[in-house]
């Protein structure tokens, strides 16, 4: 089953910068894909299109077989509940504990309290932070904060997980830990798309690599490396 499908997708911003040009790409269920390329090559635009933070200029995007181009604004939250997102800057809420940060993601989609009490510790165990439930983000290291953010993105068990430079602010050893967690999540059957320009990680993982340059796909390789 195709989880993510781009058909002739282009994105031109209002200031006429062309971010993506005629992109065609298919990601199957359970796949792990690295989106690589220099800054400004269109990686972030790619991710924003999937969660409909921005709209494509032309072409069609299918998520789990559904065309999301003409999605009514009222249906967008439903889409986002099925697509977890992790960012370089973590986006944790500083005045909430780790538990509350993760629980927040379930609260705001209306999950009942008893479910939250079961699911949050479970997912925090998955990322190895079950002993820091009551800490605040500033008490954690960068790697730990990113693991919380992954836990938050995954607590609702979305079939798709997007990660935009998740290791961008982390040192290599810590990054390795993050990649282990993402691999684990991928093994459970989650489709994972990660935008990165971290050469070492891409080379060590040997997964599918799609390279963007100036908004175009210039390479799509199974078990690829970062490139020259």
């Amino acid at each position: 089953m195709n989880m993510i499908e781009f058909k002739n997708v282009s994105k031109i911003y209002e200031d006429n910068t062309v971010a993506l040009k005629n992109i065609n790409l298919v990601m199957k269920k359970g796949e792990f894909l690295f989106l690589v390329g220099p800054s400004g090559s269109g990686k972030s635009t790619f991710i924003k299109l999937i969660i409909k933070e921005i709209n494509e200029s032309s072409g069609s995007i299918f998520i789990a077989g559904r065309n999301i181009c003409n999605l009514k604004p009222g249906r967008i939250p439903q889409l986002r509940r099925n697509v977890g997102c992790v960012f370089q800057d973590f986006k944790l809420l500083p005045n909430r504990t780790i538990f509350e940060n993760v629980a927040f993601a379930l609260e705001v989609i209306g999950k009942p309290g008893y479910e939250i009490k079961i699911q949050v510790p479970q997912v925090l165990k998955l990322v190895g932070l079950h002993n820091k439930l009551n800490s605040y983000p500033h008490q954690l290291s960068g790697g730990e904060q990113q693991r919380v953010s992954i836990a938050r993105a995954f607590v609702n068990r979305p079939p798709i997980l997007l990660a935009d430079e998740p290791t961008g602010n982390l040192d290599p050893t810590t990054s390795e830990g993050i990649m282990k967690i993402l691999s684990r999540i991928n093994l459970i059957g989650t489709t994972v798309l990660m935008a990165t320009h971290d050469r070492n990680i891409v080379n060590s993982m040997r997964r599918r690599v799609v390279e963007l340059e100036e908004g175009e796909i210039i390479r799509d390789q199974k078990r690829g490396v970062y490139g020259d």
Binding site: P77, L79, A105, V108
Partner: protein, 302 residues
Amino acid sequence: MVKPKYFFSETFISLRRNFFMGFTAITTVAITLFIVGLFSLIVYDVQGIIKSVESDVELAVYLEDDISEELKDFIQQEILSWEETGSVNYVSKDQALERFRQQNEGSDILKEIEGNPLPASFEIALKSPEKIDRVALRFYDKDGNFIDGINDVIYGKEYVNKLFSITAIIGTIALLIILVLLLAAIVLIFNTIRLSIYARRKEIEVMKLVGATNWFVRIPFLFEGFFEGFTGSIISIILMYFISNFLLIKAERIIADTMHIKELSIIGSGNVIFYVYIGIAILGGLIGIVSSGIALRRYVKT
């Protein structure tokens, strides 16, 4: 999907978490609405004082000494039949002299009076003092002379006209000031609430990111805005209550006593204070919720 319990608890939890912003918003509402409310009360009372000064305006109609009893009665009946007339008081020559003596007791002028040079008169109080001109004209004939039996009509034409134009200006200025204060209050409250939402834009961003519906994002903020506006207005009402009971009324009583004003509006105006209080409470809650709603538009689009 509707979870009132979540929204309520979320409102209070977040008020605790964002104590400083909430505190700022509540204080802003309390202070600004207090100023608006207090000023409205003062203006209302000043209007009352002006009204009672206006109602003191009287028309004195002096009669010829040789006026017949029938004509005098006829004129009195005539005056009483006018719709503008509040009351008519007949002052005979003797009463006029007596009054004059009392007012000038001990003065040399009394020794010089021989007989009774003072005329009898009607003192007319009007229901609508601003029509005094029109009433006065009725004592003149077409040629501008006094009608039979009338010697003179005195009402301080200049003074009365000036008084009315001044009170009209005061009324307009007061209304303008209230409007400006109100506008300033609304802008200040709106900006404070907008800032408090701006401070939490990250929270909104995360909510949207994990798939919260727009209403789910909005409702706690709207509750909060309402709570802040309403609490602030209640505080301002409490302040106004104390100020008006312990300061305003006393001050006005002194003013009324020194100016010999019969009625003091605030004392008999329990209803007006009550309406001002209600108005402020509604206004506070409304500004809070509307400000939140407008401020949210920016962060809750899609």
